[in-house]
Symmetry: C2
Subunit: 460 residues, 2 copies
């Protein structure tokens, strides 16, 4: 049994309002891609649930008729997660975008999956709260849970998984479950919060998220430190961590990327391996931390360190860092960006970044290196010509070298972008027999294999 | 097919050394109980693996012959987790007690499951590191992962699950997997670290743990604050958290428990609701935090606050708090201790603790209240006469009232002790249809239901 586009629409119309179902060509195309280099592919139908009940009806129908589906937020994923290569139906959660509850006393919010992180932060500000996970893109929170996103602040505040207290999830067969509760900790039952976070739409669709939020820090100090080599920059971070100085953000930006920052953000930063740093705390404690930190970086041949005290200048600094991906895109018109995403134990990071630069230079492809150094995570941004198969192959081979190097050194193929389709070929290599456990879980929770079935955990 | 004790021994002798297998009556009795009030029950055989390969052989044999097994650390569990009510074979991991690796640069250790937390901390000290999770008892780290233990420092450093980077797990059928890696974060595959942590021996046996460790704080301040009421004490903690002051420990001790502390630890603390507090950081930052904190507690009618500056006095303070459970046991010879373990969102905590005290008074059972207030977790310690069925029933009914009150207020039946057999009857109530997902996972990973099958997730 294989329903046609018409049949799917006819069925959905018995369950939902007409306005919730679309086969408009432009709409289909908007759901054919994400922000990655992966090839677009249209779904046959896009459906917009308003409620959990709608989502349950849609999945019950899809499961009954073996229709493969993919949940969709805003399409900011970086490994093709939301591209419906073998899915007929995209479930777009952008209309489930309400902030349902803010509980400042409990440091909790409950939101629908279509709320973006900037919308959430806007609502939190008046309570003196913020949501720390910042993957760069203004992604939906549902999408961020699906990929276990993280970003610059994870070294202090943790990744998405660390913020998830409860998910309302619609399972493949339409059943609705809650994976957690509102308590700060629990040893009751299996840890479903952790299992569903990062499951990339393969175990269920999220319809409500209860997330931990944090108090806006009393005091923030941000600065830039430049070094003669990448190795010195990374080794100084290791020393800062070992000294027990709590860093809120520490980003490595290599020379090539500083050049992009300068030209895109109208800055004049020295073209040197640079750390962008941030510290959160009370004023007296920060002063003491920063003074100690300065001594440490000097030991690692730091050539200059500057702190921005006022808020505006600090924002400009971080905007420059955050816009780096867009800087590259603008700097190389007509080219697509491929981004690597390995993580290594921090003791192996300097060597890995040097390895990456050496190998990147060999490819002759333009690109730069960015690192969430405190987590051992770094990205290589490669600008590739989508019409040059030889270059694409070179870029893929380069990515594979980095991934294998990371895995062989106790690391992982993806720190924050997720598996999608881009990192599938490394799953068996990285997880070994544990991959069979993942497959068994996928099979038992989605026996008809309808949920984003060609992404993350795939059954052959 | 059901093997006898003799047959199990004979089979095991073909796989292991004779010295690894015991049917000695004293040994069986030592494996018949934990530290809870739950009724003891002997296993038929105890087996001591030396290696992962041993463990794999044992489980392969058990699975082939449908022999139910329970993994065992030191028997410090509090809900009957390790009591072999329906298990013939106890696998005792106390001889797998090596610290395999300490990597200060990566803040990681790799240990065998039989290492205790105090053994680990002894080895870490020379590196300026410590392992923060402290459940009171000197449990094995394998056991602490199995129950997702936590304790006084979790408000700052997180629970066991937050420390787990990788587990080597022997599955029911003897297969050996790794659930993670050495990277600080990962979005690759499903989060097996989280799933296996807290699984209470029902999904596999742990043979190697890679855990996050932390730098010993530069500076520590610890103190006691007394309040006219429990409500004032808890509300001051909420205000401290909202002010963004990072607390490393905050323990509520009620009047009855202060009396026990005084008589057992030879102290003379005022018999008032008391907070034991600790802060970690640099000296200047701590001074600023503590000054601010003092203003806040004064707003909440604090009647006195004292800080211990020197290390010895600080240790005496925390020893008094830590020995409280033993103080009660000594204070009521012949009685057994039952400990409740609910968690609520912190906004509901004061009301819940007051409810607990009111209901406890009604039972006329002696006991006290202790709280990891920063996490919303509190324990009621009840001293019950094991030969008085009416009293035992009253204690159970009381526990049930607290659990239902917690669940109805967004909380959980267990924050750190785990489910074992004591909290099973609340699993369906707490998790709803999510419990079916847990059962499905248990069934697919342990199809013959041999792994600690009457604990945590049970299949009827």
């Amino acid at each position: 049994m294989h329903l046609t586009q018409d049949e799917i629409v006819t069925h959905l119309q018995t369950l939902l309002l007409k306005e919730q179902i679309s086969i408009n060509k432009t709409v289909l195309e908007l759901h054919s891609k994400d922000e990655s280099y992966h090839k677009p592919h249209n779904p046959e139908v896009v459906v917009y649930p308003y409620t959990t009940a709608d989502t349950s009806k849609i999945l019950m129908f899809a499961n009954d008729y073996n229709i493969k589906v993919v949940p969709f937020g805003l399409g900011t994923s970086l490994e093709g997660h939301v591209i419906p290569y073998n899915q007929q139906l995209t479930i777009d959660f952008s209309l489930m975008n309400k902030i349902l509850d803010v509980s400042p006393e409990d440091f909790l919010v409950t939101v629908q999956p279509g709320v973006t992180r900037s919308e959430l932060n806007k609502a939190l500000k008046r309570h003196g709260l913020f949501f720390p996970v910042d993957p760069g893109a203004d992604a939906t929170l549902g999408g961020m849970v699906a990929t276990n996103a993280s970003g610059t602040t994870s070294v202090k505040y943790g990744v998405m998984r660390d913020q998830v207290r409860d998910l309302e999830v619609v399972l493949a067969d339409g059943r609705i479950i809650h994976t957690g509760n509102r308590a700060a900790k629990s040893s009751s039952g299996y840890h479903l919060n952790g299992l569903f976070t990062g499951s990339e739409g393969t175990l269920g669709a999220f319809t409500e998220l209860t997330l931990k939020v944090h108090g806006i820090p009393e005091h923030i100090m941000a600065g830039r430190a430049i070094f003669p080599t990448i190795k010195d920059a990374i080794e100084s971070v290791v020393s800062i961590l070992q000294a027990g100085i709590p860093i809120a953000r520490v980003e490595l930006v290599d020379e090539a990327s500083i050049e992009q920052v300068n030209s895109h953000s109208d800055q004049d930063f020295p073209v040197k391996p640079t750390l962008f740093l941030e510290f959160h705390g009370n004023e007296a404690g920060l002063k003491s931390d920063v003074d100690f930190m300065k001594l440490i970086v000097e030991d690692h041949y730091c050539e200059g360190i500057e702190f921005e005290k006022d808020n505006t200048k600090r924002n400009i600094l971080w905007e420059a860092r955050h816009n780096l991906a867009y800087a590259y895109t603008h700097g190389y018109p007509g080219k697509d960006m491929m981004v690597t995403d390995v993580v290594l134990p921090i003791s192996k990071l300097a060597e890995a970044v040097i390895f990456a630069r050496t190998e990147l230079d060999k490819t002759l492809i333009e690109g730069g290196i960015l690192g969430h150094v405190g987590d051992g995570n770094f990205h290589v941004l490669l600008m590739i010509d989508p019409n040059n198969p030889a270059e694409i192959k070179k870029a893929h081979d380069f990515n594979e070298k980095l991934v294998m190097h990371a895995i062989n050194n106790g690391g992982t193929c993806t720190g924050e972008h997720g598996v999608g389709i881009g990192k599938q070929k490394y799953q068996r290599i990285e997880h070994g027999e544990a991959y069979d456990v993942m497959i068994a879980i996928k099979q038992v929770l989605d026996p008809k294999n309808i949920l984003n079935s060609d992404k993350n955990i795939t059954i052959n």
